[in-house]
């Protein structure tokens, strides 16, 4: 009989423990779910909903999220306008087209340039003496840690037409007086790309390469030296070893970093706003800047939300395509 009591007591005891665990899980997850609903799910759904309304926060709409009433439902009108390529298009549409081109050009130039710099640079840093390795790594990594506003302000001064470092260096080498307005002169175009955009790309690369650099250095360190030594003993040249041993082993890392670099390149805002604020003549008006200005300068939040949906779709499609493309190359 005492045994039965003991069993029952133990069962209750375990039950109590499970109850405590359940309460703990509920106590942690329920607030988290409530939080995610308000600050993650709601904004996503709301952003897509806004895209279908002519919404301005200055106008009071219906009590339901301010949508409707003075902020009327316009359906697919915003997206229809985006496809309007006629000459009679409104300013916001032509600026959107410009922004789309700027962002695509920026991202498609930044990613290959970034990889073309960081991969060899990582290999070089990886092969110098252990003692000086951290010195080089820090020099290239420091801009990653700096405030991007600070970085942008430094670059504006480096590129200053009269007192800037770049024109000073050019003068020192050529002996000619140069007053090139790298980020202010809309007439400057190189290979069809506005020089102002190139300047932002250079500043962005300067700020961003350290990030991929440390990732590639870590990936290179993960490759066992014995594998490379074996290839060398078999008579492979340095280049062949890199091409046939190191590169294939790095492929997963290259894939991931190129996707991450592309995604962040699509969203760059700080450098564009501080360095050029979209100028000269909208030559550097990136999508993120377009969204910010439409929403907060002109209060056209419905339109801005539609543009942000396009940005989201772009990021999504391109990262999918990139995954496919690079994966098919590396799994033969």
């Amino acid at each position: 009989m005492s045994q039965a009591i003991e069993i029952r007591r133990r069962r209750r005891w375990f039950g109590g423990r499970e109850g405590a665990q359940k309460r703990f899980v509920a106590g942690v997850t329920l607030p988290a779910i409530a939080f995610m609903l308000v600050f993650s799910l709601l904004p996503i759904v709301w952003a897509f909903a806004l895209a279908f309304f002519d919404f301005s926060p200055r106008r009071a709409g219906t009590p339901f999220l301010g949508l409707g009433g003075n902020n009327p439902f316009v359906g697919l009108e915003h997206f229809r306008q985006m496809l309007d390529t006629s000459t009679g298009q409104s300013v916001q549409v032509s600026q959107f087209h410009t922004a789309l081109k700027v962002t695509l050009a920026f991202a498609f130039l930044v990613v290959p340039l970034n990889l073309a710099i960081t991969l060899p640079l990582a290999a070089m840093i990886e092969s110098v003496h252990e003692r000086v390795k951290p010195v080089f790594r820090t020099v290239f990594f420091l801009p990653v840690l700096a405030s991007s506003v600070g970085v942008a302000i430094i670059w504006v001064f480096v590129l200053h037409p009269q007192n800037g470092l770049l024109n000073g260096i050019i003068r020192a080498f050529t002996g000619k007086t140069t007053q090139i307005g790298w980020i202010t002169d809309a007439r400057l175009v190189f290979l069809g790309i506005p020089v102002a955009l190139i300047a932002v790309i250079v500043a962005y690369l300067w700020q961003d390469i350290g990030y991929n650099l440390v990732i590639f250095i870590a990936a290179l360190q993960a490759i066992p030296q014995s594998v490379k030594d074996a290839a060398r003993v078999d008579g492979a040249s340095a280049w062949q070893t890199f091409r046939h041993i190191t590169l294939p082993l790095l492929m997963p890392t290259i894939l991931l970093t190129s996707i991450l670099t592309m995604i962040s390149a699509f969203q760059v805002f700080d450098l564009f706003q501080v360095m050029t604020d979209g100028g000269p003549q909208d030559q550097t008006r990136a999508l993120s800047l377009d969204i910010y200005q439409e929403a907060f300068r002109f209060q056209k939040m419905g339109w801005a939300a539609a543009v942000s949906v396009v940005l989201f779709a772009l990021v999504f499609v391109i990262s999918l395509a990139q995954t496919r493309l690079l994966r098919s190359r590396w799994e033969y």
Binding site: R17, A20, F24, T29, A32, M36, F39, S40, L41, P43, I44, A47, P57, G66, L119, L121, A123, M124, I125, S127, F136, F141, L142, L145, A146, S147, S148, G150, I153, I154, F157, V158, Q162, N163, L165, N167, G168, I215, A219, L220, A231, R232, V233, S237, T241, F242, P252, T257, F266, Q267, F269, D270, Q273, V274, A295, M301, A305, S308, F312, F316
Partner: protein, 296 residues
């Protein structure tokens, strides 16, 4: 580029003592250092230029052609900024620090406790919730920025530092990283603590948390740095000048003094450099955190 494998294996060197091979090896080593040093100087130049320019006088900074070294170094720029009543730097340091520290504490707490729950408990909807939290990382901030602003407007949290803290209470990245680490904590430790009668909260605090020192430090540094440097979201939420954070103030100051670049450079040094030194010293932790995302 091919220099990684330029390192001659010891065995090979012993077998064929060819002078020319070693000589070529030395030459390419030398070239490697030259290239790296040149690139390093180019990379460091903008910072050096900012630093040197902050000691130039107003007349010298406008000189054409520009000077590189300050001809007569002066601390006037720093004096002007530190005495500028329109630029109470300590206030903006305080604003930035408050937001960054609170965000770091919140992220570390929610990340570790949610990571623990996802790693060590079975409950209905666990997978779905975990993937939903991870999925939010895919959404560009420009998409959620507009409704985020409207939500803060409804909650009357615009122009309030809490408006920058509350919406980022849970970081998907932190939850993910913490879960990865907590999975490797042995279940036995948790079971035996439970048998000893420790409460679930106690197990989290005294068994799980103490084992997370390294990942917490890494994540803490990353979160702090990210918030300290944040620009777009604070720009939208904080429109009152005295509520603003350092990056916004730096941009504002640069537009106010666009013709006095010497002052702007000194302000940049004061705003960017102190924390940059702290970040550089804790580089090891930050790099570890970044490679975590880039790794597999």
């Amino acid at each position: 580029m091919a220099t990684t494998s330029e390192r001659v294996p010891v065995s090979e060197r012993r077998d064929e003592p060819r002078r020319s091979g070693v000589g070529r090896y030395r030459a390419s080593r030398g070239l490697l250092y030259v290239v790296l040093i040149v690139l390093g100087i180019v990379a460091a130049l903008p910072f050096v230029w900012m630093f040197l320019s902050s000691f130039k006088s107003a007349a010298e900074i406008r000189q054409v052609p520009p000077t590189f070294w300050p001809q007569e170094g002066t601390l006037d720029n720093y004096r002007t900024i530190l005495n500028d009543p329109e630029l109470p730097l300590w206030l903006f340091y305080k604003n930035s620090a408050f937001i960054a520290i609170m965000n770091t504490i919140a992220t570390l707490f929610t990340g570790s406790i949610l990571g623990y729950v996802f790693a060590k408990f079975e409950f209905r909807g666990r997978q779905a919730l975990f993937w939903f939290i991870l999925g939010t990382m895919m959404i560009p901030s420009q998409v959620t920025m507009l409704p985020g602003y409207l939500i803060l407007m409804q909650l009357r949290l615009l122009n309030n530092p809490w408006g920058l803290i509350i919406p980022s209470f849970i970081s998907a990245f932190a939850v993910f990283v913490m879960r990865q680490f907590i999975v490797s904590i042995p279940n036995d430790e948790i079971y035996s603590a439970r048998v000893d009668g420790a409460s679930e909260w106690r197990i989290y605090r005294s068994i799980v948390l103490p084992q997370l020192g390294a990942p917490l430090a890494t994540l803490g540094m990353l979160t702090f740095m990210f918030n300290w440097n944040a620009y777009l979201w604070p720009l939208i939420v904080l429109t009152q000048p005295n509520k603003r954070t350092l990056p916004i103030i730096l941009y504002w100051y640069s537009t106010q003094h666009s013709s006095q670049v010497n002052l702007v450079m000194a302000a940049s040094v004061l705003i960017v450099i102190p924390v940059l030194i702290v970040f550089a010293l804790s580089q090891k932790w930050i790099v570890r955190g970044l490679t975590l995302t880039g790794g597999k």
